[in-house]
Amino acid sequence: MQRHLISAADLTRDDAVLILDTAEEMARVADRPIKKLPTLRGRTVVNLFFEDSTRTRISFEAAEKRLSADVINFSAKGSSVSKGESLKDTAQTLEAMGVDAVVIRHGASGAPYRLATSDWIDAVVINAGDGTHQHPTQALLDAFTMRRRLVGRDAGLGQDLAGRRVTVVGDVLHSRVARSNVDLLHTLGAEVTLVAPPTLLPVGIESWPCEVSYDLDAALPKSDAVMMLRVQRERMNAAFFPTEREYSRRYGLDGDRMARMPEHAIVMHPGPMVRGMEITAEVADSPRCTVVEQVANGVSIRMAVLYLLLGGNEPAVTHTRTEEK
C-alpha cells in the first residue's frame, strides 16, 4: 500500500469519496471561533516549492496549521537549488531533520513520484503539482466543489459524481489540472469532455477516459460544470494559436456562452484567471463562478488529505497504482 498522494489516478472511488467526506467535516472547522485541531501536533510538514505558487503554498500552509502541524516552508526557486542533484540533496537534508511529510511543487513531471519511490527520504510525499503531470489536490477540491454545488453538502456525503457532465476547456496539453481532473472525475463516475484547439491537446489523448471536442458551443448546453483552464499568453508565440483575440473568440467563456449553459451549471477555474483571455470579467464575477469557493475548499481538501495520510499510524487511503503498470 502506498502512503503518498502522487496522482489522482492512484485513488479508488472509495478513497476519493472518503477524502471528500472528510473534507466536508474539515470545512466545518472553518466556521468555528478557533479554526484549529490538535490532530497533527508534533508532526513536521515541509512545503517544498521548486516553483512559485503562492496560492497553493498558502492553501497547504493553512491546512497544515489548522491541524497543528509544525510547518516549514522551503522555497527552492531562484536559489542555487535548480538542477537535478539538488532534489536528492534537499530530500536528504529534510530527512535528516526528521520531517514527517513533504508537500512538493516541482517543475519537472514525475519529481514527486521520484521522491516517493527513491530511497532519498522516508516521509509521506504529497504532490502539490508537478510539471505538466498531476495536481491531485486540485482535482479533489474541484470534485468537492462540484459535489457541493451539484449534489449538496449533506446530500453529497458518501456520494460520487456519477452521471455529471463536466467540460474542461483550454490548454490541456500543458495542464496538470486537466490530467488530474480527467482521472479523478472518471473515477467518480462523471462524464468529462475536453475542449481545446487541436494544438493544445496532447498526442495520445485518445487513451484518456474522456471525450474530446474542438467545439465549445456544442459542449456547453450539455454541461453541469464548465472548467476553464488558464491559457498563458506566451503560448501564442509558439504558434499554438494565432492571436489572443482568436483564442477567446473560439474558446473563451463570455456572458453569451454562459447563457447557453443549463441553469444549474457552474463555471470553475483553478486560478489564476487570465481575464479577457479564457474568461470574461462578466463570467468570472457571476454567482455561477465558483473560483472563490474553490480556494476555500482547497484548504478543507488539503486538511482531509493531510489527516488521512498523516493522522494515524498508517494512511487510510489505499492506492491502486503499482510500481510498473
Binding site: R32, P33, L309, G311, P315
Partner: protein, 220 residues
C-alpha cells in the same frame, strides 16, 4: 478502503476509546462471540434509566434552562437525542441537542490508521455560558471524555460541563467521573461491554461478554 469500512463499522460497534470491548479486530468470529454475550440491560431498562437521568438533569440544573446536550458519536448522539425528547416532555421547552466528534482530539491517533470523521453539530445558539451535558454510551478509561473536553474548549466556553453515560464500567485511567450514570457495571478487564441502540443496531441492549483470549491489541 475496505480496511476503512471495517474500521468505521467497528468504531460504531466497539472501536471507541472507552467502550472498547476488546474484540479482536482481525478476528472474523469476534462479532458472533460477542453476540453470545449476556444482556445486562434490555430495551425497557434503557428507556427507564434515560427517564431517570432526564429527571436528574432537570433537578440538578434547576429546570435545565440553559442545558445543551452534546452526544459523542455514534451512540452517544442517539442517547442525547432520546434524552432531549424526555427533557422536553418534562420541561415543555425545546432542548438544544447536538453532536461532538472527538476523533481529531484523541490521544491514540498514532496507534491506529486514521478514522473516518463523524459530524460535530453545535446547536445554533452555541455553548457559551450554557450548561453542556456530554452524553456517551459507556464510560471506561475516561480518555474519550478528556478528548471531548479539549474539543469543547475549541468551540466555546460553557458555564459548566457535565457528563451523562448509559453504563459506567469502571477502570478509569484519568480523573474523570460521570454526573449521571444509567447503570454502574463492575467489570473485569477481561470482559467486554457493548451497547446496541435501535437507531444504529436495530435493537436496544447492553451486552456483557468475555474478551476473546487472542485479543491482539492492548486496551485502554
Amino acid at each position: 478502503m475496505d480496511k476503512f469500512d471495517k474500521l468505521d463499522k467497528l468504531d460504531t460497534v466497539d472501536g471507541k476509546l472507552d467502550t472498547t470491548d476488546g474484540i479482536d479486530r482481525q478476528d472474523p468470529l469476534a462479532a458472533s462471540r460477542a453476540a453470545e454475550a449476556r444482556p445486562v440491560l434490555e430495551g425497557p431498562d434503557i428507556a427507564r434509566v434515560l427517564t431517570r437521568i432526564a429527571h436528574e438533569i432537570v433537578e440538578r440544573a434547576k429546570g435545565a434552562d440553559d442545558v445543551v446536550l452534546l452526544g459523542i458519536p455514534t451512540r452517544g448522539v442517539f442517547l442525547a437525542q432520546r434524552l432531549a425528547v424526555k427533557l422536553e416532555q418534562i420541561t415543555e421547552r425545546g432542548i438544544p441537542v447536538g453532536s461532538l466528534d472527538i476523533t481529531m482530539y484523541r490521544d491514540d491517533l498514532r496507534m491506529h490508521p486514521p478514522r473516518a470523521l463523524a459530524r460535530t453539530e453545535i446547536p445554533g445558539d452555541g455553548i457559551d455560558g450554557r450548561l453542556v451535558v456530554l452524553v456517551d454510551d459507556v464510560l471506561f478509561s475516561g480518555r474519550t471524555i478528556r478528548a471531548a473536553l479539549d474539543a469543547l474548549n475549541d468551540i466555546g466556553r460553557p458555564r459548566a460541563v457535565q457528563l451523562a453515560v448509559l453504563v459506567d464500567r469502571g477502570h478509569r485511567e484519568l480523573p474523570i467521573r460521570a454526573d449521571y450514570v444509567g447503570k454502574n457495571l463492575p467489570t473485569s478487564l477481561r470482559e467486554t461491554v457493548k451497547v446496541q441502540l435501535a437507531e444504529e443496531d436495530g435493537r436496544d441492549t447492553v451486552l456483557l461478554g468475555a474478551k476473546p483470549a487472542t485479543a491482539g491489541e492492548s486496551q485502554h
